[in-house]
Symmetry: C2
DNA sequence: GCTATACATTTGTATATACAACTATTGTAT
DNA sequence: ATACAATAGTTGTATATACAAATGTATAGC
């Protein structure tokens, strides 16, 4: 990925600004690949993220604030995100008996089944995105990212 | 930045997936800082990006497709983005005489003035975001990002 | 028990973005 | 000259997101 080529500038960018733009461009690419990989399964990256969090609960229900806390990209409206997953039959929502303010969200068997298909697509997407990286590269890159 | 802490997971993430999530989290942070830095100047990061592109034209007008090509995050509607900058008095739009399909967009003196104030804010934001990086770190990080 | 406060989620609304259809202008081939 | 395609931008519409206000429930102090 050549920054100057993508944003079509001939002038030399300052290192700091270039780095931040570079990260944006990389993230745009990652996001685009993810969206395309998930498109056949009719979910957005955030919906996929929620499904994975729910699977990680191993049968325990999650409430909305828990989901929101754990999402990679927090969005201000988890209610409506969950609505869409309910419409698709991937999760269900019940009022928590012990605290009726809370709701409990569970992934359905259909959700788990769909999710396992998405996993295959995502795995392939990750492999393609990171094809130029060795394992050591990834460790070093993660170390740099930790500095943020 | 600790990935596991931010997304509140205790389990160990696979290196590939962790890297991609890490980049998302970093980009979210960068974006948040930029939005806050630009908020007092009442522009979005994309509007700021357009203003900088126009300044880089050094008096030559840009048309919409040129802007779109050069934007870091391409969005599907540059017309309306420019509309907002016109409302603010930062740019103006005229029909190109030699090819009346094209429009020419120029930054106004007020736009240049506002932009120079934004520069200060952005510079400070960049410095803060990258405070843990040495120059060599940034070079190495850019090299890794080139692998995408 | 009653009121005030905090909590968890939902709803309303304004703005942003994606995508497709449309308009206007120019270039090209017959 | 006319018809057809290509180009540049605009508009319409559906969906997404941000932010604030509203709803319903639980807890604490008196």
């Amino acid at each position: 990925m050549n920054v100057e080529q993508i944003i079509k500038t001939e002038k030399q960018l300052p290192l700091e600004g270039r780095t931040l733009i570079h990260i944006s461009l990389v993230q745009n690419k990652i996001n685009e690949v993810m969206i395309n990989s998930l498109k056949p399964h009719d979910v957005s990256p955030q919906q996929f993220n929620v499904l994975r969090i729910l699977r990680g609960q191993k049968g325990n229900p999650a409430n909305l604030s828990t989901l929101n806390e754990r999402m990679v990209t927090k969005m201000s409206n988890t209610t409506r995100l969950v609505d869409k997953l309910i419409t698709k039959g991937f999760v269900n929502r019940t009022v928590c008996e012990s605290n009726r303010r809370k709701i409990e969200i569970n992934i359905t068997p259909e959700g788990l089944e769909a999710l396992s298909e998405m996993d295959v697509a995502i795995k392939a997407a990750e492999k393609e995105l990171l094809k130029n990286f060795t394992n050591e590269d990834l460790v070093l890159l993660n170390n740099f990212l930790d500095k943020f």
